[in-house]
C-alpha cells in the first residue's frame, strides 16, 4: 500500500468505525430528536467512509473481509458508546478534530482527499455544533448530568491524543502537501475543545497515559465484537451479493 493509500484508509476506517458505533444508538436515544440526529451523524460518517475506502479498493471487501489487525482507525472511534454523556464527549473530541482535519485536507494536493474533505467539513461542523450543545447542556445541567459528563469525558480523553500522532506516513505526506499536519491540528483542537469544556463548567482532563496502536492495527478488546457483528453476514455467505 502506498503512503497515500495508508493515510486515506486510516481516515476511512475512522469514519466507518465511529459510524458503526453510532448506529448502535438506533431507537435507544434519550429522545426522538436524538434518534434523528445520531443516525444523521452516522450516515454522514458512513458516507465519508465509503468515499475514502473506495479510493483504496472495494469498499465492502475492505469493510467486511479485513481482519482486526488490518483496521487502522484510531482507538477512540471504537470505544463503547457508554451513556449519552460519554457518546457526546467522544463526539466532541472527534468532531472537533475532524473539522480541522477536513478543513486542512480540502486544500490537499491529492484531489481525492480534497474532494471528500470539502464535503465532510460542512458535515463535521454540524456534528461539532450538536456535540457542543449537548456537552454544555449536560455539563451545566443537573448535578447528575455534570458528574456523568465529566466521567465520560475523563474516560475518552486519553484516546483522543492518538489522533495527533505522526509517523513516517504522515510526515512524508505532510511534506508533499497531501496530509494535514498534526502539529498544527493539535493546538487548534485543544483551543476548540477547551472553550466548550469551560462553557460546560467541566474540567479539562489531563492524562499522562496515551493509549496508542490503532493506526498500526492494535485495537481494544471491544473492537473484536464490533467487527464480528458487522462482518458476520459477508463471512457466512462468501461471494454472495446483497
Amino acid at each position: 500500500m502506498t503512503p497515500l493509500e495508508t493515510y486515506t484508509l486510516r481516515h476511512g476506517d475512522d469514519c466507518l468505525v465511529l459510524g458503526q458505533r453510532l448506529c448502535e444508538w438506533a431507537a435507544r436515544s434519550p429522545q426522538l430528536e436524538e434518534d434523528v440526529a445520531l443516525l444523521n451523524i452516522a450516515l454522514d460518517l458512513l458516507g465519508s467512509a465509503r468515499s475514502l475506502l473506495s479510493q483504496v479498493g472495494d469498499e465492502d471487501q475492505l469493510a467486511f473481509l479485513r481482519d482486526e489487525p488490518a483496521f487502522t482507525n484510531a482507538q477512540i472511534m471504537e470505544l463503547d458508546n457508554g451513556d449519552f454523556g460519554r457518546t457526546m464527549a467522544r463526539q466532541l473530541l472527534v468532531s472537533g478534530y475532524q473539522v480541522l482535519l477536513w478543513e486542512a485536507l480540502s486544500s490537499s494536493a491529492d484531489e481525492g482527499l480534497a474532494g471528500v474533505a470539502g464535503k465532510a467539513v460542512k458535515e463535521a461542523a454540524y456534528h461539532l455544533d450538536h456535540a457542543h450543545s449537548w456537552v454544555v447542556r449536560l455539563g451545566d445541567g443537573t448535578e447528575e448530568s455534570h458528574a456523568r459528563m465529566q466521567a465520560g469525558l475523563d474516560d475518552v480523553w486519553p484516546y483522543a491524543l492518538e489522533l495527533f500522532e505522526a509517523d513516517d506516513v504522515v510526515t512524508s505526506l505532510v511534506a508533499q502537501g497531501i496530509a494535514a499536519d498534526p502539529e498544527v491540528l493539535e493546538p487548534a483542537w485543544r483551543a476548540t475543545v477547551e472553550k466548550v469544556l469551560t462553557e460546560a463548567t467541566l474540567g479539562v482532563p489531563s492524562s499522562d497515559w496515551r493509549p496508542t496502536g490503532g493506526r498500526h492495527g492494535l485495537h481494544t478488546e471491544p473492537f473484536g465484537y464490533l467487527l464480528a457483528e458487522m462482518q458476520h453476514l459477508q463471512r457466512t455467505h462468501p461471494g454472495a451479493s446483497w
Binding site: E24, R28, L53, G85, T142
Partner: protein, 302 residues
C-alpha cells in the same frame, strides 16, 4: 361553516376549527397509535443496522430508520395540534394504555426480514395511508402526504433488496422465502379486523377520517403484492390463493393470532415494550439536564 358542513363538503378541519370532542379524541388516539408504531417499528429494523451485509445496505437501512424517527416526530406534532402532548402520549404507550401496530411484535431473525418488511409492511402501510392524505383533519392529512412519499421509497428499496436475495445463492433464496412465509399473514392482519368486527369503522367513515373499509384495503394490497411475489419466484404461503378474474382470493386469516398479539401475547410484545421503556428511562437524566440548563439560561436572561 360548521363542522358538519365542512365534513359534508369534503373540506378540511384545521386545529382552530370547532370539532366534536369525540372526533378530536378519535383522531388523537389514531394519530398517537400511528406515531407509536413508527417509533416501535425502529426496533425490528434497527436490529439489523449493525449487521447489514454491505455498506450500501447499511446506509439505506440507517436512513430508513431515521425516517421512521422523523415520522414519529411529525405525527406527535400533529397530535399536539389537537391539544395532546408528546409526553403524555408516550406515557400512555409505556404503560400499555395505547397500542401500536401488531406487525412490530414479530421478530426479525434474518437479513431477509429487513427486505420483507420494506416490501410487505411498508407496502401495506402505504395502501392504508394513502387514503389518509385525504383525511378530514388537515395536519394529519399533510403529515401523511410526506410519510407516504418516504414509505413508497422504502417499499421500492425493500422490494429491490428482496429481488437481489431471490436471485442470489440457494441460501439467500431460502432466506427470502422463509421471510415471506413469516411476514405474509401478519402483513394482511395490519389492515385490522374484517368490517363486521371493526367497531370504530363506521363513525370514522362518516367523519371523513377513514375512506375505505379494512377489507377493501386488504384486497387492494393482496392484488398488488401477489404478482410481485410471482416476479420474485417466491411462493405466497396460502394454498387457497386463487385469481377469480378480478381479484386474488385469499384464505382465512387467523384472527385468534391477531387478537392475541393485540392483547400483548405476540412473540415480541414484551421485548419491544421493555426495550422502549428502558431507552426512555435511561435517557431521563439527559432530558432533565436539558430542562435544567434551559431554566438556568432563562434565569440569566431576566
Amino acid at each position: 361553516m360548521g363542522f358538519q358542513e365542512v365534513i359534508d363538503a369534503d373540506g378540511r378541519i384545521e386545529p382552530r376549527d370547532e370539532m366534536p370532542e369525540a372526533y378530536r379524541k378519535t383522531l388523537v388516539r389514531q394519530i398517537a397509535q400511528h406515531a407509536h408504531s413508527e417509533i416501535i417499528g425502529m426496533q425490528p429494523e434497527g436490529n439489523w443496522i449493525t449487521r447489514a451485509p454491505s455498506l450500501r445496505r447499511k446506509v439505506i437501512l440507517v436512513a430508513k430508520v431515521q425516517d421512521e424517527a422523523g415520522h414519529g416526530l411529525y405525527l406527535y406534532s400533529a397530535a399536539e395540534t389537537l391539544g395532546a402532548s408528546r409526553h403524555d402520549l408516550l406515557d400512555l404507550l409505556h404503560t400499555g394504555r395505547q397500542k401500536y401496530s401488531t406487525i412490530f411484535n414479530y421478530p426479525t431473525t434474518s437479513w431477509a426480514d429487513v427486505a420483507a418488511i420494506g416490501w410487505l409492511v411498508d407496502g401495506a402501510a402505504i395502501v392504508n395511508q394513502v387514503p389518509l392524505t385525504r383525511c378530514s383533519y388537515g395536519p394529519y392529512a399533510r403529515a401523511m402526504t410526506r410519510v407516504c412519499k418516504e414509505e413508497s421509497f422504502h417499499q421500492r428499496q425493500g422490494f429491490e433488496a428482496m429481488t437481489v436475495l431471490s436471485r442470489g445463492t440457494p441460501a439467500q433464496r431460502q432466506m427470502a422465502q422463509d421471510a415471506l412465509d413469516r411476514w405474509w399473514w401478519p402483513a394482511l392482519m395490519m389492515f385490522g379486523p374484517s368490517d363486521a368486527e371493526s367497531p370504530n369503522s363506521a363513525q370514522s367513515m362518516a367523519w371523513g377520517i377513514k375512506r375505505f373499509s379494512n377489507d377493501e384495503l386488504r384486497q387492494r394490497f393482496v392484488d398488488a403484492t401477489v404478482p410481485q411475489a410471482d416476479y420474485l419466484g417466491l411462493t405466497v404461503p396460502d394454498p387457497t390463493l386463487s385469481w377469480d378474474g378480478e381479484h386474488y382470493r385469499y384464505g382465512e386469516i387467523d384472527w385468534t393470532e391477531f387478537f392475541a398479539v393485540m392483547k400483548g401475547d405476540g412473540p415480541c410484545n414484551r421485548q419491544r415494550m421493555g426495550f422502549r421503556v428502558k431507552a426512555h428511562e435511561d435517557g431521563a437524566w439527559v432530558r432533565e439536564a436539558a430542562e435544567a440548563y434551559a431554566a438556568k439560561q432563562r434565569a440569566k436572561a431576566i
